[in-house]
Amino acid sequence: MYFALTDEQRDLGRTVRDYLADRFGPEQVRAVYEDAAGDGHPAELWKACAEQGWLAVTVPEQYDGLGLGLLDLAVIARAWGASTIPGPWLPTVLGGEAIRIAGSPEQQAEWLPKVAAGEVVLSIATRREGGDWTAAGAACTESGGTLSGTAAQVEYAAVADAFVTATADGRLWLVEAAAPGVTVVRTGGLDRTTRLATVTFADSPATLLGDDLDSLYGAAMVLTANDLVGIARSALTRTVAYDKEREQFGRPVGSFQAIKHALADLHVAVSMAEHGALYAAYALDSGQPDAVQAVHVAKSKASDVARDATAAMIQYLGGIGYTWEHDAHFAFKRAKREEYAYGDGAWHKEKLAQLLLA
């Protein structure tokens, strides 16, 4: 019985963080941030993802992957969140997961080696604006093997090679970006550490993967939760560091008890969110009976705590945290977007109430 990362997982986390510190630090993030019209997909970072195997984590070994689990991906997602890293790593990994979970051996053989090698960018285009993205209102309708519909807030659609989308019966489909009838219209985002677009399919030829939208969403919720706890922990750590140094009224701001207590409460909440985000990954990996509950607990807490921790960072950094020049708003805005992605705290609490009252 142990509730902790393995040494290998700790090493993985360290490797990712070391790489980011050396090669994709705040300056590189800012370059993407300032270039709102750019594709937000730094080539060097992508190359590193491929070389380091960060795109291959859950790809089975027979398809040139590492054959590891969601918990290993979660380690990377946390590091990603902590440094507000841009790029299509998450949607590509999720696209790969869709193929791994729902695809046929042939489809896996065709796509997964390319995912692992960083040869394709994938994205998830299942969310119809205003619809019930979890099922009945999914983006597309099917007719004779072609799909039609519009998906909103699709991450990195402009650089994607293929989209995973869904029909209302819960089946997952793969549509290549180059297929007829596929239109990508970029929109901007408050959070410039990602890129968004609206993707329209009009009688676009599609390949059926299979019918496990729920499993895909489980992975998406867990990885987003881990990105969020990465953001939250990093925001708290930065706030604590700043408030230890920043003096007002002749003493460090962090010595004022009202701030101390707020930060202490956040530390408890962030620590709990970390537990929840890791456990949910483990629970899905190992098929625990409470896996569904674990996912909702994780995303609910992570959404709430990342919002609170980044808001506290803005407040307790004082004016400086509100400036464009300071990186605090990268985290604040990323947390806000991810709070809503794949269900916000209230949505997941309602799901938990359903489980509890069942």
Binding site: A36, A37, R127, E129, G130, G131, D132, A136, G137, A152, Q153, R186, T187, G188, G189, L190, D191, L196, E247, Q248, F249, G250, F256, A258, I259, A311, I314, Q315, G318, G319, Y322, T323, W324, E325, A328, H329, F332, K333, K336, R337, Y340, A341, D344, A346
Partner: protein
Amino acid sequence: MDLSYNAEDEQFRSELRGWLEANIPREWSRPGFWSSLDREEAFALRRDWEARKAEAGWAGISWPTEYGGRGGTPAQKAIYDEETVRASVPYTVNPLGLTFLAPSVMVFGTEEQKKTIIPDLLFNRVIWCQGFSEPGAGSDLAALSTRAEDQGDHWLVNGQKVWTTNAMHGDWIFTLVRTNPDAPRHAGISMLLIDMHAEGVEARPLKQMSGESEFGEVFFTDVRVPKSSILGPVDKGWEVAMVLLSFERGSSAMGQYTGFRRELDQVAALAKGRERFGKPAAEDPQLRQKLGASLVELELLKLHSLHILTAVEQGRELGFEASMTKLQWSEAHQDLGELFLDVAELSGQETTGEDFAGLDPLQHSALWSRSETIWGGSSQVQRNVVAERVLGLPR
């Protein structure tokens, strides 16, 4: 309790409303009008408008007539705040000058200062900035280090100010500077009035997380300031500043209420129009709770404004209620911003425009509200004031 205004005040309201209706360009209330303008264009339009308004006698509502004001009652000032916001009149381009400097000049100014500064403010000919905060002096204002050395016939000013509203449009700045570095923290500070077009004054925009630059930084490098350009006595700037800041105290938050209440209506309309899980967002019980909660806090802000107004009219000592007003409006507005984001959900995260940086006014407001609990005395500072000055808890 009687919330009806007297006949004179109602007369004032109807005249004002009539004038506003006749004079505000219709297009101003068209949604998106203001955000369609570029910043400079908008500023120029607002500046001109205020001058015209002053010429028609709708400025300095509560200022004494001897200074060219209307000599109106506090109730009339509140009516003015309410009606102008209701009529979609843009916010003044000269808030610091009008709220803080003008009444301070009436108290501390020389005859010469009164004669020049006040009319220029009334007709909006001079835009004033406030130079208080510094990088090392935020909540702890008395830690300021900008220095003014006495050079016999002038002060030589060096230092930096930050969080300066309207820095890029300012003509003059009222500034706290250290004139006696050897005196204790709160002593040895003076309030200088500095021409921002003078040599050695440099203003730089300070971009906020919204992408806008509501604030700026002002740098002073060997700036020569005439000895006469001081408000109040030398080394008594702290006392002058405290009186100056107290002029916010009696001001009602009716303007904020009216503006935020309109935002809430916009959020409610958005909730009705936006589909979520196949139903209008307005049917989501969690959002309904938050809509209700927001209405509670805004209506109470309005009542608090009426309470302040009554106290001012009755000549009662207000004490530190301004801190309560600030906490109530700034926290309620921040919650309203969060509510908008919750209603808009993921689609509220999208921006528009060719440069992908265009913000919807409610998006801007949601981001801006994050600064409102920091500037003008952070919520933490306000809570200290309420705890110590109102509740009498020990320091």
